[in-house]
């Protein structure tokens, strides 16, 4: 049962994100795969020969665009901003001065923003799927719905786990965006592709385990070849999610929010 404070925080954070400049820009980024899909249709319509069709484009967009780019980017900016926006805007004292648990503030904000991100991403993914697969006829669209469902599940998990990770960075570190870029686009995309045990400390690797891409060149498939089971991947992702949210709440509970323009007074 959600408390009144949780409901207020969730709806406020969801609304604030959706109407923010950041939210509008992200919506544009989610339309980009559709534009690429329509471009493919246009090229084929104009009679050009294409080596690989809509199915390949869809697989590549999911792997490179949604998983490799969109997930870390969107969750980095929204996760870090959960508390940072209020801290920088000077409105954190209003929240911390209320009789509501610190962890409720963080979790409700996280839930509100994640819900919007997941909804937007799934709409974009579904649109991309329909646009790309319809290139080979609408019959193909309905024959491969299981792939869409699996991609939707993987992206949802990705948003939640990356979101928890970056929320943790947002409350625990001084320069969370910098660290977030390093982790999201450095560590994740580098270590996730390397052979060895280390890749288990990335989110990307476990997402790949859940949904291996079948349309990639063989050497890339070998790089990503998973030695863990899907169950292990789910357990790792669940563990990271719980761990990072727990740490975020722990740091949030110790955070100070003095209402001061500057030192002193």
């Amino acid at each position: 049962m959600l408390t009144e404070a949780s409901r207020a925080l969730m709806s406020r954070s969801a609304k604030t994100y959706t109407l923010s400049v950041r939210g509008v820009l992200f919506m544009f980024l989610l339309v980009c795969p559709w534009i690429l899909g329509f471009f493919l249709h246009l090229v084929i319509f104009m009679g050009a020969e294409v080596a690989q069709g809509g199915a390949t484009l869809y697989e590549n967009l999911v792997l490179w665009y949604f998983q490799g780019f969109w997930l870390p980017l969107a969750t980095l900016f929204t996760g870090v901003a959960l508390v940072a926006d209020d801290a920088e805007g000077g409105t954190l004292p209003y929240l911390f001065g209320r009789p509501v648990r610190r962890r409720t503030i963080l979790l409700a904000k996280f839930a509100g923003v994640s819900a919007v991100l997941i909804a937007e991403t799934l709409v974009s993914l579904a649109g991309t799927y329909v646009i790309c697969w319809s290139e080979a006829g609408f019959g193909q669209v309905f024959r491969n719905l299981d792939a869409l469902v699996l991609d939707a599940v993987v992206l949802t998990l990705g948003i939640l786990v990356y979101g928890a990770l970056f929320s943790f960075l947002g409350v625990a570190l001084k320069k969370p965006l910098l660290w977030g870029f390093f982790i999201g686009f450095g560590w994740e995309n580098l270590v996730g592709w390397l052979p060895g045990f280390l890749k288990r400390f990335t989110v990307l690797f476990h997402l790949h385990t859940l949904k291996p891409s079948g349309n990639m060149p063989e050497f890339l498939q070998q790089l990503l070849a998973s030695t863990e089971s899907k169950l292990a991947a789910i357990l790792f992702l669940a563990g990271y999610f719980v761990l990072f949210l727990f740490l975020s709440c722990w740091f949030m509970g110790r955070m100070e929010a003095p209402a001061q323009e500057r030192e002193g007074g």
Binding site: L19, F96, G97, R98, V100, G264
Partner: protein, 304 residues
Amino acid sequence: MIRVEHVSKWYGLVVGINRISLSIEPGVTGLLGVNGAGKSTLLNLMAGLLQPSTGAVTLGDAPIFANPVALREIGYCPSPDRFYEDMTGEEFVAYLARLSGIPRTEALERARRACDEVALGEFVSKRIRRMSKGMRQKVKMAQALVHDPDVLLLDEPLNGMDPQSRAQTIALIKKWGGEGKCVVVSSHVLHEVEAMTSNILLLHHGKILAKGEVPEVREAIQSRPLKVFIRSRDGREMASRMIAWPMVKSLAFGLDDRTLTAEVTDAGAFYESLGGLLAEEDLGLEILNPLDDNLAAVFEYLVA
């Protein structure tokens, strides 16, 4: 109700509050000090936004920092002019009421009442970004009292208000104090505090310099002479008698020989001796007025 026990607060090497102990009782308490004295730090500690480096800040017996049970009884009006600018005054207050656990419909109703109480008037449905500084101050006050707390912590609440709003707000603060709420008002403007209360807490360099009723505080400063203005039919005779009293440090005549200003080191003893003198002899006392038995003088003496 609020107890501050042996509390210090450091920001790195900078000391914000230095080993302060006090308790805030029902009524209005004026928190005075120059900029940087530690007023906001003390209020932030009492509002549960800062954790003391040492010591404890409690409401009842419960620590305040990040404690929802204690925070339910506290309303805090911060000094910085920060808001969710996209909201209207009423939405802002209602949103924060909901964070206090008040259901949505009731929160809206209470927000309207709180906005009415601080005389926000028709500005209540205006976006905060379009409000004047004075109106924004009122919105901050309204959010502090919307959940009907027993403790109100108001940091520079009169900043940016026009004279009429100031008078209204001062009356409101006195009313809340009279209703039995603990109201702590910080300010560096002395006459404002003096208009609200005579119970003061004077901070300087993170320490309590004085606390209590203004005249008591003044009385306690034995090392500083009190100036008393006197006008009588026979000023010269009065001066000749007073000059012999040990507590009279100096005497100065005014423009005529009927008025004089005495500097006394012990006000109590002075008034006693003066009473005795007037009982013995009719010197035609017309005016007896302590010149610096007010907050400004106390403040000046203590901080200078």
